[in-house]
Subunit: 316 residues, 2 copies
């Protein structure tokens, strides 16, 4: 069965059934009206972020399952909420697809998204379906954050320490392997929602961003927004297990993957000099935390690796 | 100059310049961070709605200016907010386009959207840009509505009167003419935001929906959500000026355009029997209001016109 066999309202009905009744007090009204209604708590601001995954640009059905693609479409948005220190309230999905897309594929996209939403308390509360020449998923996620406590890109100050959660380079390595015809990419990034919320309540916290475009590109966004510079020690970048060996076998440059590879979706943040140490933060945030550099007045200095010629992912 | 010449961040920078600094106390943080931050007032719920316009499906650059397309992408979302009785807080735009799209076209899409946003107090607060095979605009709009006062599709009761703002059939007529090679469609629907907000405060108010898929289809959504039926008097449907004559000249069936044509974006709503009359409502809502039928227990009875074979717009 294909999308054209069930029509717009048949598809919406099936999506609503997969989404189910949204749990939690944050959702007043889910799928099925002109808009969804969510309810932040008193004194909370609302964070809103949107991100699109487009077939042939961000995913291929040949290398990833539809469920993984659906989960990723939500995960990249949740990562943005995490980087603001927000807790998820709900998400809407605009699904565009050719009429010939198998119904099962469309529903698996939704199933993957809804399953991750269940794990992260981010119910699918609404959306839109439309015919299109290529499949795409545009997700908008809403989150709540205590008034005035959102983690901004613009809050870094000279002297701040620069830290990162988890490891860097793993996603770029997996992508490079998949492009060479290796195993498909199955991994859905784990949005650092809990870590972001704790960071937003941490004394001595500075700026925060999620690493989606690549470490250098995303650090660049923070530096620009804050009007500061940085010194980065490439030798301290946290790598996944057996990363160097895997890069050597695949003849890939580990620095390039770690500095410029995107889609790790870790949190990159700064902490005032007197704020908690990396090991204290790791305990509080319940995730590995590594100090990788310092905020300076201007410029970007890289120690321990040659400066790469290009940085980050370009869309056009 | 084309999108590929300015790149992702060059495009975002230009969009941010067009959007400007968002006015109003509802926006805490606009374009430029991981998420935008909006702030509803105390005791307000948050309405969220998303809608996509896809090239070749919902618009063609040959028949509409880029500014009109951009305005429409926001207007259809504002119409959904109007149908909930919500006041706009802000919108995010996910713009997907081929790398060869002229930069000017992309920016005109944004200019049209931002201009309508200025008029309706709905600033562009964030978004996403992505490469794609075809151009599409996916807008998500956020609105605020007094807690528990949102206008729902499910609130119609037998005995309610059925009313509609403005006129029906005009958009379908313009579309039919354009498809025959006539004048381009320049009209951007006027979202009934003020009328929706007043309706949400009106005693004796029932259900509400905006007419986007066509009168019969959208009335059907209300009847289904409310578990009721309706009797509609086709002879009372409000038509634009000189509508019958224009239909006759173009050999188009006026009933079909009025009952099944979509995209009028008027509000279709119900009022309890003892609630205000159409003329009182027209004064309060500051827009024409016409009573066109009654809510019944079940079924849909159409008076004054033959029942059409098909109803509404199908996406797949």
């Amino acid at each position: 069965m294909r999308l054209r066999d069930v029509g717009e309202f048949g598809l919406i009905e099936r999506i609503a059934r997969i989404a189910g009744r949204p749990a939690g007090r944050g959702v007043v009204l889910g799928i099925g009206d002109d808009a969804a209604i969510v309810r932040p708590r008193r004194g909370e601001d609302l964070a809103v972020t949107t991100d699109a995954l487009v077939e042939g640009v961000h995913f291929r059905f040949a290398t990833q399952s539809a469920r993984t693609i659906g989960a990723r479409a939500l995960a990249v948005n949740l990562s943005d909420l995490a980087a603001m220190g927000a807790r998820p309230l709900g998400a809407v999905l605009a699904l565009a697809a050719p009429a010939a897309l198998p119904l099962r594929t469309a529903l698996d996209l939704v199933r993957g998204l809804v399953a991750l939403g269940r794990r992260t308390a981010c119910p699918l509360v609404g959306g839109n379906v439309s015919r299109a020449g290529e499949t795409s998923l545009t997700v908008t996620a809403l989150g709540a954050v205590a008034r005035g406590r959102a983690l901004l890109r613009s809050s870094a100050r000279p002297g701040d320490r620069i830290l990162v959660t988890g490891t860097l380079g793993g996603a770029a390595l997996a992508l490079a392997r998949a492009e060479r015809g290796g195993a498909g990419i199955r991994v859905v990034p784990e949005p650092r929602l809990g870590a972001g919320r704790i960071l937003a309540r941490t004394r001595g916290g500075g700026a925060c961003i999620d690493v989606s475009d690549g470490l250098l590109a995303d650090l660049g966004h923070v530096l620009e927004a804050s009007g500061v510079g940085a010194e980065l020690d490439a030798r301290r970048l946290p790598a996944p297990r057996r990363f160097a060996a895997a890069c050597a076998r695949a003849r890939l440059d580990p620095w390039e993957l770690q500095l410029m590879g995107g889609e790790d979706y870790e949190l990159l943040f700064t902490i005032r000099p007197a704020g908690p140490t990396a090991s204290v933060l790791a305990r509080r945030l319940r995730v590995a935390v590594t100090e990788i550099g310092t905020v300076t007045r201007r410029g970007l200095r890289l120690r321990g690796a040659r400066a790469p010629a290009r940085s980050g992912w370009r869309h056009f």
